[in-house]
Point group: C3
Chain length 340, copies 3
């Protein structure tokens, strides 16, 4: 167990202790349900009442916080309690994140694969022929790295991730459990007898640096060329990215969204959950698409859209408000017609 004194934390955050500076802190908690030994923070005035009854051993508060009742817990006064707390979270995360390293047997690696130093390869993980794995990469148990895959430094591949042959992944990425990278794009040519002929999918997936991919998300390889997920893209769980899609930098996409084939998203977009984007269109920079929207045509930069098919969010909200009153509108028209 890792333990710090309130004094040490105050020093770390450039704050000031009021109360018992020797109090031992071993975990982080929320002000309204923290346990003894935890540190919490008070930022939103709404939670002020909780500070008088909290079980937390210490609470980060603003420099000028004035209690209105007696307080049992130790206070640490800082400039910004929320930022301070986030900094502690990160510190704690670094210290407690089990720094997995080495090889757990049995693990499979092809003799032609090359690996950097400080690698972790969990039990039952698989690394195919001609793979190039950088330094500090972690490959958790039961992950599959197909032939000819490149993974750059410090990327983490969680348990059960499946990476098809030929995929290229940058550095400092995190790919969560069960994600599938590089599966065949959905390409079938209809034949005259109504059956479908498979179109060979020969491309790959290329993922940039600092990309995060959620659990059970699927990213198809390109028919030819590459499906691109560029630097800093953050994908949530259960997302579908189809063949030849291109997701430009620093975009954030929420769960269960589907990006269909051969389209191109701009920089700094935000896509909410369960959005669908058809193939063969382009999306500009800084576009925001609301939850469950369906995008059927190209979008200019800076647009904010909602609806299926999607259009300007303010216009959508006004139209939807009128939609909710449609039966009343029908009644009014009936009455107008009666007047003739």
């Amino acid at each position: 167990m890792i333990e710090f004194s309130a004094d040490y934390i105050a020093q770390l955050l450039d704050g000031e202790v009021q109360g018992d500076g020797a109090t031992k802190i071993s975990k982080l908690g929320k002000i309204d349900d923290a346990e003894p030994g935890a540190i919490a923070f008070l930022s939103n005035p709404k939670y002020e009442p909780a500070i008088y009854s909290t079980s937390a051993s210490a609470v980060l508060v603003e420099k000028d916080f004035q209690p209105r009742q007696s307080i049992r817990t130790t206070l640490i006064r800082v400039d910004d309690p929320y930022s301070g707390f986030t900094a502690l979270l990160e510190e704690y995360h670094k210290l407690t994140n089990h720094n997995k390293a080495g090889v757990e047997e049995p693990a499979f690696i092809h003799e032609s694969a090359t690996t950097g130093e400080n690698l972790y390869r969990g039990a039952f993980s698989y690394v195919g022929a001609n793979c190039q794995i950088g330094k500090g990469v972690k490959i958790y148990p039961q992950a599959y790295i197909g032939d000819g895959v490149t993974i750059s430094d410090y990327t983490v591949i969680h348990s059960g991730v499946k990476i098809y042959a030929g995929t290229i992944i940058g550095s400092h990425c995190v790919i969560h459990a069960g994600a599938v990278i590089g599966s065949d794009g959905f390409g079938f040519a209809p034949q005259s007898d109504g059956s479908y002929k498979t179109i060979p999918q020969l491309g790959n997936v290329v993922i940039g640096h600092h990309v995060s991919i959620g659990a059970n998300t699927t990213i198809d390889c390109a028919t030819l060329g590459s499906t691109l997920i560029k630097d800093g893209v953050k994908l949530d769980n259960l997302i579908q990215i189809a063949h030849n899609a291109e997701n430009v930098e620093k975009t954030e996409i929420a769960a269960q969204t589907g990006i269909y084939g051969s389209n191109k998203e701009g920089k700094n977009c935000v896509l909410a959950g369960q959005v669908g984007i058809v193939g063969h269109i382009s999306v500009g920079d800084k576009v925001t698409i609301g939850a469950q929207a369906g995008v059927g045509k190209s979008i200019a930069s800076n647009e904010i859209l909602l609806g299926s098919p999607a259009f300007d969010i303010r216009k959508y909200k006004r139209a939807y408000a009128a939609f909710k009153n449609l039966p009343d509108l029908v009644r009014r028209i009936n009455e107008l017609e009666k007047k003739y």
Copy 2:
């Protein structure tokens, strides 16, 4: 093969045999496509014609069933044929469900993990450090149990399930293949340069007793504290539960629904398929949400909702009926305007 006589089944269900009581029954079937050796049931009068031609060796019928043609199959007259059949299903399931036990090598278990009796650990399954596994637990091949996970008695973890470190799972749960429990919540703080900084996700997932989780469903850990799935919750396949969500008791959620972060669902709710619920709201008890609905704000108990954004289902249906006739409404307004 397990075989029973029609007489034995009649005795089991407190029924009465008409025909050959010695007929051997070895499987269950549907009245319209059962094979010889099968038992079927007749409950819905719509299916009556099938009883005169069925190949089933026996059929459960109501006590007062009066055939209108000659019947070759053996009848077993019971109070409620459907309930009787369900009881047989369960009996059959218990008898035929291969009672897996023991360890198939190679399987990985850390020396610090503790396990109860009658455990099944399939080949290539992984149990990490400090895990506590109860008695009668079944861990199928290629399942991953991260460090410090607790699994209580008689829970079944199917093949390829991935459970991140620190997760707590109750007793008598069933987690289907490919589900991911405890992956990082989707938390990224936008920076001034447009990039995102990862917010450490330090919490865990806590699952109650008698919970069922569908194939390839994903449940994220909390940022801090726990994402809660309480007793008796039933989740279908491909569902997304985001960080810090709390699903209270006995709720049922259909496939492909997404529950976003930090919200709280009530007891005894029913969520249909492809529903989306935004973060930071609360849902009352006994709420029903229709398929593909989008819930954007808190919901009181007992509401029944549809639409995106969702509102009262009866009002939605009336508004949608008017929506389908909108072009006609426009035409009527055009005519009214012409009259001036």
Copy 3:
């Protein structure tokens, strides 16, 4: 590396070389970003300008193509450049697709399982008791084949696929990574105390020939009898097929669509992405359902639908156009009312 001369390719495609017939071709590319050594094609006149600057070593063009500027690349004149390119793709695919065979240890196979010749069983794959595996089947690493499963000739099971006991799979199928076949249907009977009782799911999944199943797609077993996926069905990624659904021949379903329980789809249907279809209905032949549509009742053959609930696509589009102008419609009604 595989290399062909432009002359050889021209011969293969019954075409004619203009330029250097000895040029070595080792890969396929797109005309606007091909690298030296690649062959590309020009079919759409829109791309004509690219042919004057392309780095491709050769380009397939139409027989009567007349360049309007000087061209450095070698031309191969054929009847149909696109078809010719597709043929090359297939040829290339056959040559480069690593023909995996043999057993990578450790792999688990029960002594009672039978297997055909030319099998590939990857490391950490699992084949249960009484399985019957045909010839030329490929089982990639970490795939799970439960007890009593039948897989016919030349089917490919990608990494991490999970197939529950009793499933039957035809020949020439491809099942992509992470797909789950045969998990329990979502069946729970509500009890008087608000809790749910599990209804045993005793059926299986039966998959025909030439079926393609996408990554992380889930197909539940039937309660009784079989969930059927018939010959030539193509399923994209992250699709949910519930218990007792029946998908008839040659249907194509895009990503993230959900087919709920006990319904029956016709032949030659096309379902777009994120569609939801409720249980207990039937869908005719040659039906097309647009993206994000919700189908709540049975559909006759040849219909084309959109919306949630879905109706005729042309009517939907007209109604939606009027919906976008609803605020204006309200204003017009207000004015009409003022005139009285």
